[in-house]
Symmetry: C2
């Protein structure tokens, strides 16, 4: 495909995308296919000769689209919002066309510099303390865009691990020990409500992880952490990393940073990370900033604009208070990557696991400018208000109950009754392809998560979703009653 | 921006991209700015109100573009090719618009299934042994698209680490040992010519890494590895992972797999990884498949289509012979990610570090279909032939010498003379902004890497690059002579 064909195909693709967006509500939200559906539809070998663009796009519509779970569908209420907006798509288009790889400052200066600036912009907008910003007097901090929250937590855990090992090595009698012996002493902490990636990151980092019990509101409390740290210290272990969550995956609860922070500072060398992958974006609204109270104690903080700020995956923003601690755990520096400005410029390859990186800040810059802070606030507020609307509908119906504090765009609810009833309800709804939700265990009980997801969600969408949910509950209860009656009939007639 | 504005802006962006591509040769290849250039050009706060699209695009052209190192420029010969093509850009556009997150099969079946199928397609096209393919009788293998080669190597190292620890734990007397004690015994191996990411991955995995000396052709040999393994075994260490390279970064040399493979198999539990990030793509040409001789010994293999197969970053393909070994090191499974088909479908989140993932296979599928295997072969062959043309020009000029075996699209050369002369030559060329190359140390000597990069590189591009290089050498030598004469004059007149 040459430039002139792309001029045509690119515009056709823009039209395809517009039509897709305009008509997405007419499609099923979940696909009506089973595992392995695609294999028989495609040849088992790649084509030897070029295929015409029209033929490829025909297959997109007939073979790919029927197999997609539509995260942008107005009835998609599963997982979390997958950020999406037109300025963001335009940013990725341009980033692809530029096609630079930003592993070092020299490999594309604008790619690095815009990332630093945009992270500062965003950090200011959500109200991060100044020492997380790069352009702030006396600051050793700064922001970076990672591929996922998993990687944000991992690099911080690795940095904390490197700091802890270095500190232990200086202790009397430790200098000649193999570092793995010291590693065996390290203990990380998180809550049972932390995202599963913390557990994965601890596996990768080969450190012990103590998973703490949150309170009845799914909140990790300071005293729980303190007791665990004391018990571990008494055993000769070395607490080195605490991963907290603002806006947990299951029920959007907020760990108590104001309690946890001072405890982390009380003991030497504990790195406090705050994972606010979803909720952190909401702090762009002044009235929601109270949710990050205690952030001043944190050593690092991440939030994913690709979750709750209209930016396409991947765009996980991470800030650290001490970038030198972060990079010291990740620096490897061969000649072919060295350049004359390495002393005065950021080389983001030392901030993350992968070496190469895309020009991801472009889409976030486009989004922040084209929406403005006011536009982004309006988006967040809309989701929060609609969640409140959904909550009110649930509360009005005595057959249901609410299972979380509804603060942002997530409502956890269940039909009063057994876990099995709720499982049945959810699977019948999901099978219908009309709306899509996923379950979570909240306070030991199976609950259904209703997540606000579509960028332009409206009150109507909430009302439609609720009417589908109540229809399916009614049907389920009716069939239950019918089953009961059938059993009674059977018992009577057979007796 | 609503759908109707995107219909306009999207098409404008297509036009912008076409113009950018058509006129890229008129720009400097490296930017004429220093660190910190962008900060004063942008406001220090994000805008409160939405900004018009025209204003944003004006800033792209006036503020961003002057700071970009143009990887797609015909005079860009640094690093490696950053894959780019129109079908690939179209794939990313569609992937962004669909906006699904493919962490599990259920979260978007087509996203997972197309990835498995396309990896099989590509694996067949480059001639991987059948046990690396997913759809192959009796195979436990399969492919996955990762974000970078660093991650490909890391997940394999982690899998090998998990296997080795499990094996050690079964040994008599080891059951009650802390796993970190066992970790301290593990030894990984690579060549001095391996990519720096192997070293980084070993830091992350907290395992010892023995960096072996390659031969005078920068090739890691079997006997070197065997001796190292024997020495480490004698010390009570446990060799568990060997990372080899086909197509090294510095000079595109090929480790001798036919020697290394049998040695890895001779000792129990050594995982042999083959990193062919750049060169692996070339195996799509039958006449280049000989370069992967010995691949049958490998446990895992990666190649980045975003390097040398016209696909935009990120698209690193990794295949393993035993996917169960791979995932066993990475599985964490909370309720909110479980689904009813988990037993019969792939959940790619267990194959990689990040949980969330984009629909990356779409662009590779588009590229393979729109180019066809024949088109991709033609692209690879063009780069190889042009490298040969450049090599011939160097060889014809007695002031220069060739420093590597030119097999694919990389020529390492130097001006005969000191490292300092070559450093000066390279920096004066790079400062000019006319062409861009980076150095590498080959056989202890500072050399200049001339990498074929532009997708549509032509013979003219080679000739122009060579004439620029020789012009700068001539200028440098002349000024040297002049300096010499000036010194002689000074000595004469001052005596």
């Amino acid at each position: 495909m040459d430039v002139e064909e792309f001029r045509i195909r690119g515009k056709e693709m823009v039209e395809y995308i517009c039509d897709f967006m305009n008509n997405i509500h007419k499609r099923r939200v979940t696909p009506d296919i089973g595992p392995g559906y695609l294999k028989p539809l495609l040849p088992s070998e790649p084509p030897q000769q070029p295929e015409a663009w029209e033929d490829i796009m025909k297959d997109v519509e007939s073979k790919i689209m029927p197999g997609i779970t539509l995260w942008q569908h107005p009835r998609f209420h599963a997982y979390f919002p997958a950020g999406n907006s037109f300025p963001s798509i335009l940013g990725d288009m341009l980033s692809d066309a530029i096609g630079c790889i930003g592993f070092s400052w020299a490999s594309s200066p604008a790619c690095t510099e815009l990332e630093t600036i945009v992270c500062d912009w965003f950090g200011k907008a959500i109200g991060l303390p100044k020492d997380f910003l790069y352009f702030s007097e006396g600051s050793k901090g700064g922001g970076v865009i990672q591929g996922s929250a998993s990687e944000c937590i991992l690099v911080c855990m690795l940095a904390a691990r490197a700091q802890a090992i270095a500190r232990l090595k200086e202790s009397p009698g430790h200098t000649h020990l193999d570092e793995t012996v010291l590693l065996g002493k390290l203990m990380a902490y998180c809550s049972r409500e932390s995202h599963s990636s913390v557990e994965k990151d601890a596996m990768i980092s080969f450190v012990k992880l103590r998973i703490l019990e949150p309170d009845e509101k799914s909140v990790l409390r300071g005293e729980t952490l303190r007791q665990a740290i004391e018990a571990d210290l008494a055993e000769g272990l070395v607490p080195f990393f605490v991963s907290t969550t603002l806006g947990t995956t299951a029920c959007c609860s907020f760990d108590n940073l104001k309690e946890i922070g001072p405890i982390c500072k009380k003991y030497p060398g504990i790195w406090l990370h705050v994972d606010a992958a979803y909720a952190g974006n909401a702090f762009i609204c002044p009235e929601l900033k109270y949710l990050m109270a205690g952030i001043e104690y944190a050593d690092s903080f991440n939030t994913n604009t690709n979750k709750f700020l209209l930016t396409n995956f991947d765009c996980s923003c991470l800030w650290v208070k001490d970038r030198f601690k972060l990079t010291s755990a990740l620096v490897v520096d061969p000649l072919y990557l060295q350049h004359t400005h390495a002393d005065t410029a950021i080389d983001y390859r030392h901030w993350s696991i992968p070496l190469s990186r895309r020009f991801r800040s472009l889409k976030l810059w486009f989004v922040m400018r084209n929406y403005g802070i006011s536009g982004l606030q309006a988006y967040v507020r809309n989701h929060c208000q609609l969640a409140k609307r959904f909550e009110a509908l649930v509360r009005k119906d005595s057959r249901f109950e609410i299972c979380n504090d509804v603060v942002l765009g997530l409502v956890c609810f269940r039909a009063k009754g057994s876990d099995k009833l709720n499982q049945k309800l959810l699977s019948s709804i999901n099978d219908s392809g009309k709306i899509h939700m996923v379950p979570a265990r909240v306070n030991q009980r199976y609950t259904i998560r209703f997540a606000l997801a579509a960028p332009n969600a409206s009150a109507d969408d909430i009302d439609i979703a609720w009417s589908i949910i109540t229809d399916y509950l009614a049907e389920l209860l009716e069939s239950k009653v019918q089953n009961k009656n059938e059993i009674i009939d059977y018992l009577i007639t057979s007796s």
